[in-house]
Amino acid sequence: MNIWIILVAGLGYLGLLFGIAYWSERRGQMGKSVVNNPYVYALSLAVYCTAWTFYGSVGRACTAGVSFLAIYLGPTLMAPLWYIILRKLIVIARSQHISSIADFISSRYGKSTFLGGLVSLIAIVAIIPYISLQLKAISFSLDILRAGPVLLASGAPWTDTALYVTIILAIFTILFGTRHLNPAERHEGLVAAVAFESIVKLIAFLSVGIFVTWGIYQGPGDLFGQAAAIPELAKLFTMEEAALSPWSWCWLILVSMLAILTLPRQFHVAVIENTDVRHLTKAIWLFPLYMLLINLFVLPIAIGGDMVFSGQGFDGDTFVLKLPLAYGREWLALLVFIGGLSASTSMVIVSTIALSIMASNNLVVPLLLWSPVRNPLGGQDISRYLLLIRRVIIGMILMLAYWYFATIGAGTPLVSIGLISFTGVSQFAPAMLGGLFWREGTRTGALAGLLAGCIVWAFMLPFPSLIEAGRFPAEILTTGLGGISWLNPHAFLGVKGMDPISHAAFWSLLINTGLYVSVSLMTRHDAIGHAQAQLFVNIYRYVSGTRDARSSYGKASMQDIRILLHRFLGRDRADELVTMFFRGKPVQPETLTEAPPELIAYAEKLLGGAVGSASAYLLVSSVVKDTPLSVGEVIDVLSETQQILSYSRALEQQSAELEQASAKLHLANERLREMDRTKDDFIATVTHELRTPITSIRSLVSIMHDNPALPEDKRQEFLGIALRESERISRLINQVLDLEKMESGHARWNMTELDMVALIQTSLEGFQEICTQRGIQLHVTLPARVRPFTGDRDRLIQVMVNLMSNAIKFCHETRGEIHVSLEEAGHQLLIRVQDNGVGIEPEFQPYIFDKFTQFNDYRTGRATGSGLGLSITWRIVRVHKGDIRVSSEPGQGAVFEVRLPLSAGAVQPMATPSYNRVKT
């Protein structure tokens, strides 16, 4: 075919794309977006189908039968899960201004710059071969169409079609993606063009399919009937005979399931360019339908091509183009060329733009900001240079892709290169999916998993391809790296019988996931890591505009919001930010008494920067009316409690003190996080226990707030209650932390030899006076000395103090008596604490050491105490291998007996909570 026709058609097509992009951007600016539409969204997702699909599937089908379908079935199986996964990704990306998958992972794991840079780097390394695959496809399609020789053979770069293709694509991508900077990283024009290309490639491929099936043959019956007579073709019709192992099939499906989420270009179109999360529901079935259609004729074309070109030794990758040419259908061939061009260019443009966003935001800019040369950009606004940086990166990525094509990739089939990339990017999946649903996933865990997974991947897939290209000695593939036989890239640890892709996918994902999970469990979040994990995993709770989120911000006065911001951001900065918020809006802050919902959301975000998002949420909740505080994790409620306390106490305090309070809050957050791994029912109970004092405080404080003229005695009474209740909260928090520490095995036990006589005397010192005040007679019977006991001094004092407090609390009101004794009985020490109060009913006795079992004071019917003291006591005694028992008759008082074995050896903290202790 005439080279000029091809060039005009190709360049004209690219021009048309550019026109569509330009037109749709104009429409978008006029508020009539064509992109904001579920069909366009679904079609843009079809950027998944590249030249690999368009040309490579046929080639794959010629040699391995049905196996080409696996990488389309994977995404099809993933599509229904988008409802859960992709939706969450989109909501997070929108609210957190995520710009790429690297940004997502970095942000989730404590805004780690290093992690973001690493992901960007891996993505570039993994995707460049894949881009080069597209360059290869475009250049070979050009070569076939103009029926010239494959120019690569001549060697001189300027005679190489692919080089020109690369340059044109670079210019085109720069024009597309970097015309102006958009903070949301959205490119309406790009999406419109990609959606259009998806239609073109589908039509082109279906046309060839129909031509082959009904033009060359008389329908599928005829086509397959003829093929059945040829044994080499007939064996493609079943899996066993096509030598496709169950393993390969399964792994291909799995890897492509992950790739549809983690490929940078898919993440870009599916998450970043999404205009409305509701479009997902259409895409979930439209996208699988698209893939079904584009695969429908792959096998007929492969079989038809094989029969038509029988014995000529053509590569199956070329059949789509060669079949129309062989039958003189030049216009059809031109359509195919345009279709292939669509498939390649859409992939190249979107991938390159996605990679350039990553590389500039997560690699170059952080490096520039950190570079030893102070302010290399002369202190100017860095965003002005961002476009230039992006353009340079786009050029570099495409040149690298060309280099890869020219040196390594030219001889490899399309599909293999693509699968190497798929396996590479699927390494992001554990960190990404874990980051979405598993709060315990830490930065160190993500880093360990990613690094290890990528090293394994690099060793098992790209490295052997370099070996095959002659860059490394070939014997590595037989004898292993450095002659170590288990270091064989295709048979790691001697594992055999898997194809290279399954082998690499298995090992890399296994090691990646294993390290991610285990290292996460062994390490802890830092403050920001914790806040981000909380935010990402529970995103619906924090984001407005979705059903599960805080359904509506209630009402809050402008004054309250202002005060809140003043406190945490300083007066000047807060006023400046509020002014900025109202800039360009029809209303002005001075005219408002009630804060608009967007301002409340904005305030929450600003506070989030100062104190962490969870705390900010709760701070805002404290001024927003009609918003009941959220039930949920005890961590939030605990930190919230601290917050409300410091907030209500500090109504008239200086901001400096508040800064301190927020610093403390950070610290508290950190400590409270230690209780992450508790059971839900326990959390619910703690939450419940906390609500009660919070309720009193909140109600009383707001009475005082609403009634400035309250009589002094009332005010004193209310303040007294509020103070007592706040002490109750701190006590509860401390006890919960204490207990959790012991239960999780994180408590440190400082075991020394102790004189228990002296220890009990010390413990009782403080109680003498209290007893005298309350008219309680305290009888202490201690021997002169007992054998030394090995234990934790402070904890054992705690035991005595808890038992004594208990005894005093429940002692007889007027004729109180408490007996404390210690004796050495055989191989144990026996401590008894006896009171003469109301006693404990027999049916309650078995539960008395359980958490939150409260003694009821039957005089008022009221429970006192947190319900944790005895639980802590029980645990301390158990750690010392001792035993604690209670015996009591109602009205006769209670006796607590602690037995401590004198031979107590090493301490074994118990890791399992004892919810069902009584039953076992």
């Binding site: 993933m78 229904p80 859960i84 329908g219 599928p220 169950p246 699988p288």
Partner: protein
Amino acid sequence: MWNHLKGKKLAGISVLFAILLNYPIISIFSQSGYIWGVPRLYASIFMMWLLMIILLILLLETRDTSRRSS
């Protein structure tokens, strides 16, 4: 429009077809023979694929279209 139950049903569809389209179930279809002139394995895969899409449409489109007509 988002609800947990729907999410679970969708996940169920995904798991169901993941099982149907993998070994060992798929080996049932991987036999010689033809359905409407198309090799049995291919015809079966595409029919299951289509069935899955139809299920997705039924689940995602039927109730919503009536409610979102405004």
